[in-house]
Amino acid sequence: MKPIIFLLGVSLHFGIILWNNFQHSYYAYYRTRQEAPDALTEIVQIGQHVFHHSIFRLYAKISGNDMPYGFFAPNIGSQYITEFRLYDTRDSMRLTLSNPKLKNRESLNRYSSFTRLFESLLKEAHRPDKHTSLEQAYGRAVAGSMALYLGKSDPAISKVEVSIYLYQEHDSLVQGTYFLIFQHTINL
């Protein structure tokens, strides 16, 4: 009985891990080719139905396997850079910050992961005629929240200007370039 339970447990453990990664790779493959998924669609649907159950999701969450292992894949993503300009009551710039006062290297790693949410603002910058989506509204709210926090941290500050840039490499592979994708001013 014991070996059967062991085998079942191990199969379930690796089944969840393999499913999470297969699913991610499946969609990554079609996304890279810019095509709609058309192979194994029934199997993917059945898998999604089975593994979407909260017990499997909770197990994956607790065991640290709810995220696929696709770091920097298929490409190294562009980084989104934030800039906060703090102005005093005489409208002269007092301070420029690139993040909300983080001091450690490890915090910056986490912050760079966090700034990926501003990808939604890039879509907005490319198509200004389109309606604002929920994700774009979320990105704006987060940028505004950070600006407000920095503004309130010093009573002498009356205005904060937040800018978000996309860092993309130049075609010549020699020079980096920053593209402004979002700018907003908050008056305190």
Binding site: F6, V10, F14, I17, L18, N21, F22, S25, A28, Y29, T32, S54, R57, L58, K61, I62, S63, G64, N65, D66, M67, P68, Y69, G70, F71, F72, A73, P74, N75, I76, Q79, I81, P100, K101, L102, K103, N104, R105, E106, S107, L108, N109, R110, Y111, S112, S113, F114, T115, Y138, A141, V142, S145, M146, Y149, L150, Y167, E169, L173, V174, G176
Partner: protein, 297 residues
């Protein structure tokens, strides 16, 4: 003379459970310690991003640490949290009440670092995987306080073999899928990915300039990374490949640490690779295993 007397001591061949438990406890401590004062900015209610906004992205299965902070509503919450977290990591390191401590630390780590995934990255998940295996594997049977208190016998050869095999298979899945996803894009084949990784503003704090490197070298580096990752599962089948492959993977993680500044992530991966492939237990026999006279399950 001293050396020869040491050689006579009845040392048991070390198994992988001991470095796994100690290393994971150390990683958990570092995860918390490395943030320093920034912890309050990222993971408490006083952070720069409004808690309500972060809560939208939260997984509904586990409460985030901010939710717990709000529920407890104490001004000493942060100090209490630090004390609890470090104490649990310390108890896990010495192996006291190991399964219980590993379980609580795992849940606490998940609530702090991965329940609200906005500020989490690869390291948090691998640290959690390490804690999960500390709970699942009989780590309390390897040089722990539990072992001496309860006079526990060491884990059997078969158990050690099975546990290490699980870790090896897990790492093979990690590297294989990571390499496979990279292979879908063109940038890892033409060297652009490596160039870009070395110039990203948040990672390239040391301002490394690799503009002088020839293009073919960056391409070769990218293809080598793909090869190392996709072919990693071959280590399960061919024992003679393990030396060069695992050596290559460890060098890769050291380079990631130096050039990208992802030190904790690299440390976690090196630890898991060390535990998976060093101190390997043969299924057939373990000449150093001795059945003790006193045993209590």
């Amino acid at each position: 003379m001293i050396f020869s007397s040491f050689k006579k001591l009845p040392f048991r061949q070390p198994d992988f459970l001991f470095p796994l438990r100690i290393g994971t406890a150390g990683l958990a401590c570092l995860a918390y310690y490395a943030l320093g004062d920034d912890f309050k900015l990222l993971y408490t209610l006083d952070g720069p991003v409004d808690y309500m906004l972060l809560d939208i992205k939260k997984d509904t299965l586990l409460p985030g640490i901010q939710t717990i902070e709000k529920a407890i509503d104490s001004k000493h919450f942060y100090q209490g949290l630090s004390l609890t977290y470090y104490s649990l990591a310390g108890l896990l390191a010495i192996g006291f009440a190991t399964p219980l401590v590993a379980c609580i630390l795992l849940l606490l780590h998940a609530c702090i670092f991965t329940a609200v995934p906005s500020f989490s990255y690869g390291f948090d998940y691998f640290c959690q995987i390490g804690l999960f295996y500390c709970l699942l594997f009989p780590t309390y049977r390897s040089d722990s306080v539990d072992k001496y208190l309860w006079k526990l016998i060491p884990a059997s050869t078969l158990t050690l073999y099975r546990c290490q095999r699980i870790l090896q298979i897990h790492l093979s899945i990690v590297y294989f899928f990571n390499g496979l996803n990279k292979a879908f894009g063109s940038s890892w084949w033409n060297g652009r990915a490596l160039w870009k990784a070395l110039h990203l503003p948040y990672f390239n704090i040391s301002q490394w300039d690799v503009g002088f490197l020839p293009h073919w070298l960056l391409s070769a580096g990218g293809i080598l990374v793909l090869l190392l990752e996709i072919a990693y599962p071959l280590n399960l089948l061919f024992r003679h490949l393990q030396g060069p492959f695992i050596g290559g993977i460890i060098i890769l993680h050291l380079l990631i640490s130096i050039f990208l500044g992802l030190s904790l992530f690299s440390l976690a991966m090196i630890l898991l690779n060390y535990c998976a492939w060093f101190h390997q237990t043969r299924k057939q026999m373990n000449p150093n295993y001795q059945s003790p006279k006193v045993c209590r399950e």
